[in-house]
Chain length 395, copies 2
């Protein structure tokens, strides 16, 4: 059946557009005779703004406490303590990573997210239970939201012997990328950590997405080691560095060099645009062709109470952090939560063009900038041409 | 008539409270015989969280474009250009500061704000038209929201001769405080600017609230000049410095000295907790007894498209900027948008205690932290014991 989506606003102004969908894919306007013969359904967007489905390029859906009892956060401010606290929480509480990842994914979907790349904890205590939980969620929601899994050694590999084998099992179970974490500050051995990460990636023919919170020159050193390995293994296009605060902290000259090398090796960046940390230099990176995705990171978990699963809120955070106030500047934030994320995730057929999968969101906003700053409610979401959320309610 | 507000959640946990209001003021539980004799109305809070009405301690309600056609922002990034652009916008467009200040005030009220301190542009082009507009709004909303006016030389006094007289007229018309703006970077003569500001304050027996965006040591110099004048004129308790990024930018030793001097002279700070600038050192300032208020600043104006009028969103921005993740840390953000703001504005009888004016908000949140991070919708607001907003709708 062909679906006609009429009165959709694609940009500011009075012009409304009609889009056509067949078999979950945008098509050119069908010839009248085909419509007469086959018939079609019609959906009236009523002048609402239509955007491609949002991409959350850095999530932790396996650890969200969304929908559970309130977690009173009293966790000291350092990575080791936070990670240890989380493991203890899991030991002492019943935690269902399938249920929780499904809850937060549906919450994200209600707000227009149609694609998620999520990092999933594996360690020597929980093994790959969370990978299995998220795989179950991925299957349960396969017609509503696309989920990509990063096998993530949250508690370390080098500092926690035995984790490499769990990582291996996680990749075997179906993860799409190999994760990693602060090779120097957390793992204390950057070369060994990165060698293990890239070894797994090579073994499974998968990409890498590594958490890098390391500051300044130390972080930049890790970036350089990742560039070396990306080159050596010809993994261009398959490596992402998440957070990468350091890219904005080193000297301007060093920033230029790193941006050029990242661009040359098609290494992408995921940012949450944190208010309290330096952010990667967006314009410089884009100038060198580096793809940038935005992510909501952990939402309502033992790490942090913040977040609602809304990528438009994340775009607002980007705008506030990068001081984007012009309408044209806000397009950069929109890019990060849509096409930029799609490019990082190498999504095929993403967008609103003919041939793209019909994943889109309808918003009560006059234009792109307003969608970002106003946080419109009651969104409607289509996944592959099917309405999966109507006015904020999951169908 | 006595009002009984039952089933109100004052903190996390299962305990629900009953509050009593008479003549717009919280009272102790009345004796049964009084209730029998006089009768009472009853309002069921239904377990919703009850907070005192929010205080927006730094607003620009006279310049908001809320409810107007979308303003496409293409303004260069420097203070002079932004201010000049705004004056041009006003010359070229019909702009009704009464209508606009009322619109954004009502939008704020719908989200629980019951008190606003707003800076109001005066200059040699618009004169005191905006002061008159906001005074009309203040009168129109006098039973719903309290508005305090700062006479604000947005376009400068020294660099724009004739503005002093307009400021004088604005104070005469009924402004509550004298405003000012970057004495060195914008006005180019810190001593002369501050002398004029404090002269007006002295003349009208009013306080001062000055915009200070100046960086580092230069900003700190302006702070020092303000401290000197506060001392000399015995204006302790009546001076606020807005933004004051510099307080977090100078050396630790200098920060300590400034915080101590500010505390000693009861000079308060207003912050918007911007993601892209350094913020005043909250804990250090509070340690020295400095009162801190949070403000939504300009909302949806020619300066910036951001903001919705929601002080809980501002509290979230504070939490993200100051990296407050613990529940107890988030109390600081809540303080800033409630009692801290009330202290800065020297509000009499603010709060939930017996004798305080019954200004409060009801939220679908389990506790204070959740109210800040989740941005609950459909709020109900009482002003002096009267329901003025029910489930997000203005009554």
């Amino acid at each position: 059946m062909i679906l006609k989506v009429k009165n959709a606003r694609l940009q500011s102004g009075d012009d409304l557009a009609t889009l056509w969908v067949e078999d979950g894919v945008f098509i050119d306007t069908p010839p009248p005779e085909q419509l007469t013969k086959d018939g079609h359904e019609s959906y009236d967007a009523g002048g609402r703004l239509l955007l491609p489905g949002f991409v959350d390029g850095h999530a932790h859906i396996d650890k969200s406490l969304w929908g559970m009892d309130w977690y009173e956060n009293d966790v000291p401010r350092n990575l080791e303590a936070i990670v240890e606290n989380e493991r203890r929480f899991r030991r002492e509480n019943s935690f269902d990573s399938h249920q929780q990842s499904q809850r937060i994914s549906e919450q994200a979907l209600r707000q227009g997210t149609t694609h998620i790349r999520t990092h999933i904890d594996v360690d020597t205590e929980i093994g790959i239970a969370h990978v299995e939980g998220v795989l179950a969620t991925k299957e349960a929601l396969k017609d509503k939201i696309d989920i990509e899994l990063v096998c993530f050694p949250q508690s370390g590999m080098i500092v926690r012997p035995g984790t490499y084998d769990v990582m291996d099992a996680g990749m075997k179970a179906g993860c799409d990328l190999v994760g990693g974490i602060d090779p120097s500050t957390f793992e204390r051995d950057p070369v060994e950590h990165l060698d293990q990460v890239f070894k797994l990636a090579e073994k499974y023919g998968k990409g890498v997405d590594l958490h890098l919170h390391e500051p300044g020159e130390l972080g930049a050193f890790s970036v350089e080691l990742m560039i070396e390995r990306t080159k050596a293994l010809s993994m261009q296009g398959n490596v992402t560095i998440s957070h990468a605060f350091c890219l904005g902290e080193v000297s301007q000259e060093h920033q230029e060099k790193l941006a050029a090398d990242l661009g040359e090796n098609s290494i992408s960046i995921a940012t949450t645009a944190p208010a309290n940390r330096t952010v990667p230099p967006f314009d410089l990176l884009r100038k060198h062709g580096v793809e940038i995705t935005a992510g909501n990171d952990g939402i309502r978990d033992t790490w942090s109470p913040y977040g609602t699963g809304d990528m438009l809120q994340r775009a607002m955070f980007m705008g506030l952090k990068y001081r984007w106030r012009k309408d044209v500047e806000l397009q950069k934030a929109l890019y990060a939560i849509t096409q930029g994320g799609a490019n990082v995730m190498q999504l095929k057929d993403y967008g609103l063009e003919t041939g793209c999968k019909a994943d889109f969101v309808l918003l009560n906003s006059r234009n792109h900038a307003e969608a970002i700053v106003a946080g419109p409610v009651d969104r409607t979401v289509f996944k592959r041409g099917e309405c999966v959320v109507e006015d904020g309610v999951l169908i």
